[in-house]
Symmetry: none
Subunit: 420 residues, 2 copies
């Protein structure tokens, strides 16, 4: 099974949007062992979209088109597909009603333009829209198939998982089961991780080929290790995944903070719930990023109290009770954590202070960060980090590093800096 | 002049790397008025690279290939181009010596593999490497041209600016100037905006074609309207852009919050600086997102005091002084804003409370949000919003809506809900 991804949109050709959809789709295809040998981007031009779809069909079994399903005159993917299929577009009343209902639910009136989104090439099957107004399409043509999905990433992802991949898998007549599990890590560079895992990779290469491992750099969110297993049944696949997860955890230790969609804040939440303690935060350079990540966790109100963003120094002194003096220091980080704990009445306080730049502060270099915690169970502790990058990257790294440090303290492990 | 971008690398087809190079290149091409109508990605496979290069040459005047110039056996862009040109590769001693010197300067010995990088198709011109070991290539073929540059972003950018663009501009015999300006908007859906701008689009279509407008959906950050002008000189282009910006602003009014890279928090900051007042924030459902965006603005410490994230209700009561009772209400939003202003000692307080879901709260539906402000100059005010989407989207919309509402109040305009 060979699929070409076609991303439609003049904004892609002008470089105003980076095409992340193609990367997401191709990762998913690779996971299911479906080949993707070409990817193409084309603008909002009927003739050229038709020509690209035709050559994509020539050299593949299926084509997945992303984008151009919106309500404006620019959005002509529906027309292009109808032309490739040699059919007309027909109006689907049920789609229009769903769109109308979406607008009504938001207390808004559907614009006349949106009726375009209810047009479907004759013979195409509709993928119901659940996240936005545009439905997706499954279009049989020349004994092959064109899938059309919206360009909005979360709408695309929803249809990819719920409709396109299942349809592809069934067309490919795949019988075995393929499943993946991803180990999330924080604290080692990709090359250091690769070195640690190298002997295991060699062992798998020499094995029966049913289990494979791949590294996925996820930028700022740490390195992912994806385990993929293929076998004749779900039970066997799951046991292969379990075995390999156990193997890799024993090699990697506490740098693994979770699997699959587990975020570092979920890992923190799990420990807090296990210990039955509440948390509050005091932030300076991160400005609220740590707090915003914590409230992302479902059920955060069970253990999360709140946060004081003490951006101005005198807020640290007056609200949090930090002793007047330098505010980028271990002492200030601990006093901020104590202050958060006292003011917001929690069992544990987490605090962060540092220099995001662009200029040094109190003779501390840009990237200098102190994280502090205060709690009865684990005492008052602080660490210093030196983080790389620009203002935004330093903030992001600081946020994840602070959460990871907290996770390690809560889980009773050795509290490393989270970056080495 | 029409250029196709071809990105080479199996890691792109597996989704392990997002192709940012194509976006960077196409932005630069657009800036110089060079058309880019297609972009293609292909893996490290000789036959397929050759086939992609041939069809790209068929439909364009030039092709820019990115990637596959490294030292390993996978790197076969040189071989593919030679095949398309119908020539052999020849060894360039001067390139090898430059590579050897680069390694020597890093205190390392050149690996034997790197000699591959000194191979050049007969008849091609070399773009000197300044950032990495791989030289670029300018390859005449069929009266057209193939440029080859490394896939490493900073090496690619260097050669793009120093060699590829100048060569393209001179081949195109270009004389005119092309420039763009983007208006950022918040508060209207893409279709509603399109309806408003439709008469202007028609007027431009009927005009001299020197000015054009395009819509760019930027997901959660509002809709962008890009104006592009072409003319014989910079002065004329700039005056065309000014005229059209004025025209669109008069049509769109206060939904325009800035141009180009201006964010909504920068627009807020500009007003605060103009008025000479300080701001503090109290957040509930957004958990710190508003605060984190505000500290993104350079120089935020001049006007930003800090934030209280009152996630637990009793933090609203005890820390912010909200009267005990319902916390998802206009009254609570205003009292939170008053509390932030008092506790964090600012001229103005901005507060937000609401239901991000998944469950309703105090009989309020998921998506119900109240935003409040308190200040001497503008009094105490609140609005109610009904926001669409899941937990994360509601938070993001709430954040931008609150900042936009604040911007409108500060700029003295009519304070709409920011979403209709």
């Amino acid at each position: 099974m060979r699929v070409e991804i076609v991303a439609v949109g003049t904004e892609l050709l002008l470089g105003q949007i980076v095409d992340t959809n193609s990367a997401v789709i191709s990762q998913k295809l690779a996971e299911f062992g479906i080949d993707c040998l070409f990817q193409t981007r084309v603008g909002d031009n009927l003739e050229r979209i038709v020509s690209v779809l035709n050559s994509a069909l020539d050299r593949n079994d299926a084509v997945m088109v992303c984008g151009g399903l919106g309500p404006t005159q620019d959005d002509i993917t529906r027309e292009a597909i109808a032309q490739v299929m040699g059919v007309k577009l027909e109006h689907h009343q049920d789609i229009e009603e769903r769109i109308r209902a979406i607008f009504a639910a938001r207390g808004r009136k559907m614009s006349a333009n949106n009726v375009r989104q209810a047009m479907v090439p004759v013979g195409a099957q509709v993928i119901k829209q659940r996240k936005g107004t545009a439905p997706g399409l499954i279009c049989p043509v020349r004994g092959k198939v064109i899938y059309a999905v919206p360009g909005v990433p979360h709408e695309m992802s929803d249809m990819l998982e719920s409709a396109v991949i299942p349809d592809l898998v069934s067309r490919a007549g795949m019988t075995g089961v393929i499943r993946s599990r991803t180990l999330r890590t924080w604290g080692l560079s990709e090359s250091a991780l690769a070195e640690k895992v190298a002997p295991r990779l060699e062992a798998l290469d020499a094995g029966d080929g049913r289990t494979t491992i791949a590294f996925l750099a996820s930028g700022i969110e740490g390195i992912k290790l994806r385990i993929t297993a293929k076998a004749e049944s779900s039970a066997v696949v799951d046991s292969l995944l379990d075995d390999e997860e156990r193997e890799l955890r024993s090699i990697l230790g506490e740098i693994v903070f979770g699997i699959d969609d587990t975020t570092i804040e979920m890992a923190v939440a799990k420990e807090l719930v296990r210990l039955g303690i509440t948390l509050s935060v005091a932030e300076s350079l991160t400005g609220g990023l740590i707090s915003a990540r914590l409230v992302n966790v479902l059920g955060a109100s069970d253990w999360y109290r709140g946060c004081v963003v003490s951006y101005a120094s005198d807020v640290k002194y007056k609200v949090l009770g930090v002793e007047v003096g330098p505010v980028v220091s271990e002492r200030a980080a601990i006093e901020m954590a104590q202050g958060a704990r006292r003011v917001l009445q929690s069992d544990m306080g987490l605090a962060i202070t540092g220099v995001a730049g662009p200029s040094p502060q109190e003779a501390n270099l840009v990237g200098t960060v102190f994280v502090g915690t205060s709690s009865e169970k684990f005492g008052d502790r602080a660490i210093q980090l030196m983080l790389p990058g620009d203002r935004d990257r330093i903030r992001q790294y600081a946020t994840i590093s602070a959460l990871d440090w907290l996770r390690r303290i809560l889980s009773g492990g050795k509290a490393s800096t989270g970056l080495d």
